[in-house]
């Protein structure tokens, strides 16, 4: 039992991990085909794991409904949404049901495509659009210039915003009177801010990003080595012993 729970997974991790690393250097078709097959296997495992996930989800919501937990009615929606989507899938895409009766008016809207376009996509977009508000509140919190670091961040962010949107030139045209538009000021608005923006993105920002990537890449290799050689076992449960 201990062999199956500990040793066997470590052997699998070693063999497949070593092969995964080696196949990167072997262009021969057998190597690429084996790697492709392993990817297919992982997709098959994913599909079966999805059933486990569905079981977990349904079990959670059945428990809520059974206990009449606050908001248990929403759990009913989970089953209703699943049932309707499954039925639509079987009706149209699966072609399992009532095919002699097609086309019917029901087919016009009772489709997975319709549900995706008019139910799922708007809900998805709504969640995504929340980001605009969250960014505003996060920016407010960050840009209160309480510390020198926050002040630098604030200045850099303002320069970036001015350089990346056409608002600066527009504001310049609207609010700066003709007699104040010196060459120096016009050049600042049209070119210098944009150049400063590019410099901020290409020098300090890219340098920090590359430094981070360097550490991440080395860390990823070290973690992979720990797993391949069985040094890291926490993912099996029970710590590193």
């Amino acid at each position: 039992m201990l062999f199956l729970r500990r040793t066997f997974p470590l052997i699998i991790a070693f063999v497949l991990g070593s092969f995964g690393a080696a196949q990167y250097y072997i262009p021969a078709p057998w190597s690429q085909a084996t790697f492709r097959d392993l990817v297919y296997i992982s997709r098959i495992v994913w599909t079966f794991a999805l059933f486990l996930g569905m079981y977990s989800l349904f079990s959670l919501h059945i428990g809520r409904m059974r206990r009449k937990q606050a908001g248990w009615g929403y759990s009913g929606l989970v089953f209703a949404a699943f049932g309707i989507t499954f039925a639509a899938m079987a009706w149209n895409s699966g072609g399992l049901l009532l095919s002699p009766l097609r086309p019917t008016e029901l087919d016009q809207w009772f489709t997975v495509r319709w549900m995706y376009t008019y139910v799922f996509a708007p809900c998805d977009a709504t969640m995504f659009s929340l980001l605009a508000f969250f960014i505003a509140s996060a920016a407010y919190r960050t840009f209160r210039a309480r510390t020198p670091e926050a002040t630098i961040l604030l200045v850099a962010a303002v320069v970036l915003m001015l350089g990346r949107v056409p608002a600066l030139a527009m504001l310049y045209d609207i609010f700066v009177p003709e007699f104040l538009r010196t060459d120096w000021l016009t050049s600042l608005v049209t070119d210098d801010v944009r150049q400063l923006t590019e410099w901020l993105m290409n020098v300090p920002n890219l340098a920090a990003k590359r430094g981070l990537l360097l550490g991440v890449s080395l860390g990823a290799i070290a973690t992979s080595l720990r797993i391949i050689f069985g040094i890291e076992r926490s993912y099996l449960g029970g710590g590193g012993d």
Partner: protein, 423 residues
């Protein structure tokens, strides 16, 4: 006389030999009258063929010398035949301004000249509608003709032959292999050193130190701790690293007797999370506190997952939210909702595009490699600590290479740059 190059080590020697042995063949006659009409045009003087280096087979590289004074819009056409005397089929075209050997250092080396063209032929047209793929271990013969902009065709009296084969090693990745092996050796040496002397120093990581505080706060408040996985699956290093943290967290939560809820987007991550939390509870001697329903598969879609997790955070108001793994646009949604719910938040990710959001909003952020080191840091296991030390040593070496490479490149020496260049 033709050449069939099957073994290409060292590569440039083979290319040189192929050029030497590719002698003119008689069966394709040069039309000298047409050549003379193309004033100033020098027809390529040599042609060679070889198996395309570093590939999976089914491709042959044809090399010929560049015409020094070709008229504009002139094309080379590589002809393919399975028999020495034809019939000949079109294998590919290349403009006279097309690529030369020095454009492809992965195949021809850094010192390849720019006086020769090359074309990788993987199929040839048998008619206008269909083409035939090059097969491995079969001899193909190649000819070359020049098509000027006036549709004037000049056959060169050159041919060469070669066989395609699948390669067992990609020599263009040799530098990557050597560096990988060197880094592996450093890591293993440091692990060995850590076994002898377990008292290794690792710098303080505030985010990991704060884990105990966060879990303690949840225990005092009698509220749950939420562990939210990122979007990536189990093949992602950050997910594996987050699973290592989950293992440590589940153990401590079980010891404290508080509630841990684990949110999952990927079904495989969900299955592994269940096992990890279960094992953690057993390790802590509290298998009774494990609840299967507390490891939740929320939704496989990004924003459905975000909506589900946000809903739970808003309703249950957890004392601590741990955001671990690789996140995308939903990171800000999670972090802001957690902040509004008043939870202490610790985020750990190697997604550098989302790091600014976490740094802005969360109380602590475990950045990049710190996430991978978390398991060693929390468990203080000497072998794991040794690998972290190896990682640090690798970083020191790379930094030294960066500095010396910059200095050398500034003075025009790019050897060090080439060693680390991905071909």
């Amino acid at each position: 006389m033709s050449v069939a190059l099957r073994h290409k080590t060292p590569l440039m020697l083979a290319i040189g030999l192929s050029m030497f042995w590719a002698a003119p063949k008689a069966q394709i006659e040069a039309d000298t009258s047409v050549v003379s009409r193309l004033a100033g045009f020098a027809v390529p003087a040599d042609l060679a063929a070889m198996d395309t280096p570093n590939d999976a087979g089914a491709s042959i590289t044809v090399i010929w010398s560049k015409a020094p004074t070709a008229p504009a819009k002139t094309n080379y056409e590589v002809l393919v035949a399975t028999e020495p005397h034809g019939p000949w089929f079109l294998g590919g075209k290349l403009a006279v301004t097309g690529h030369v050997l020095s454009d492809e250092p992965a195949a021809f080396g850094w010192n390849a000249d720019s006086l020769r063209h090359f074309l990788n032929v993987s199929e040839y047209d048998v008619n206008s509608d269909s083409s035939v793929a090059i097969e491995d271990d079969r001899t193909y013969h190649f000819g070359l003709r020049v098509v000027a902009d006036t549709d004037t065709v000049v056959f060169t009296a050159l041919s060469a032959s070669a066989e395609a084969e699948a390669n067992w090693f990609n020599w263009a990745k040799l530098n990557s292999l050597i560096l990988g092996l060197a880094f592996t050796a450093i890591t293993l040496i440091m692990i060995g050193a850590a076994r002898k002397d377990p008292n290794l120093y690792i710098r303080r990581v505030a985010g990991l130190d704060a884990l105990d505080d966060a879990l303690g706060r949840a225990t005092e408040m009698g509220k749950a701790t939420f562990f939210v996985h990122g979007l990536d699956g189990m093949s992602s290093i950050s997910t594996i690293a987050s699973m290592n943290i989950l293992s440590q967290v589940s153990k401590r939560v079980a010891q404290f007797g508080t509630t841990l809820k684990v949110m999952n987007r990927d079904p495989i991550v969900h299955a592994v999370s269940r096992e990890t939390v279960h094992e953690g509870c057993i390790e802590a001697g509290r298998p009774d506190v494990y609840k299967e329903d507390d490891v939740i598969f929320v939704a496989p879609d990004q924003f459905a997952y975000a909506a589900g997790v946000d809903g739970m955070i808003v309703r249950e108001k957890p004392a601590a939210v741990l955001l671990m793994g690789y996140f995308y646009a939903e990171s800000l949604v999670f972090a802001e909702t957690g902040a509004h719910a008043g939870a202490i938040q610790i985020a750990g990710t190697d997604s550098f595009t989302q790091l600014p959001f976490f740094i802005t909003i969360c109380d602590y952020t475990i950045m990049g490699e710190e996430l991978y080191a978390a398991s060693a840091y929390l468990s203080r296991e000497p072998k794991l600590m040794g690998s972290i030390k190896g990682q640090d040593l690798g970083k020191v070496i790379l930094l030294a290479v960066l500095v010396s490479g910059t200095v050398l490149a500034t003075f025009g020496f790019d050897m060090l740059t080439r060693v680390f260049t991905n071909l």
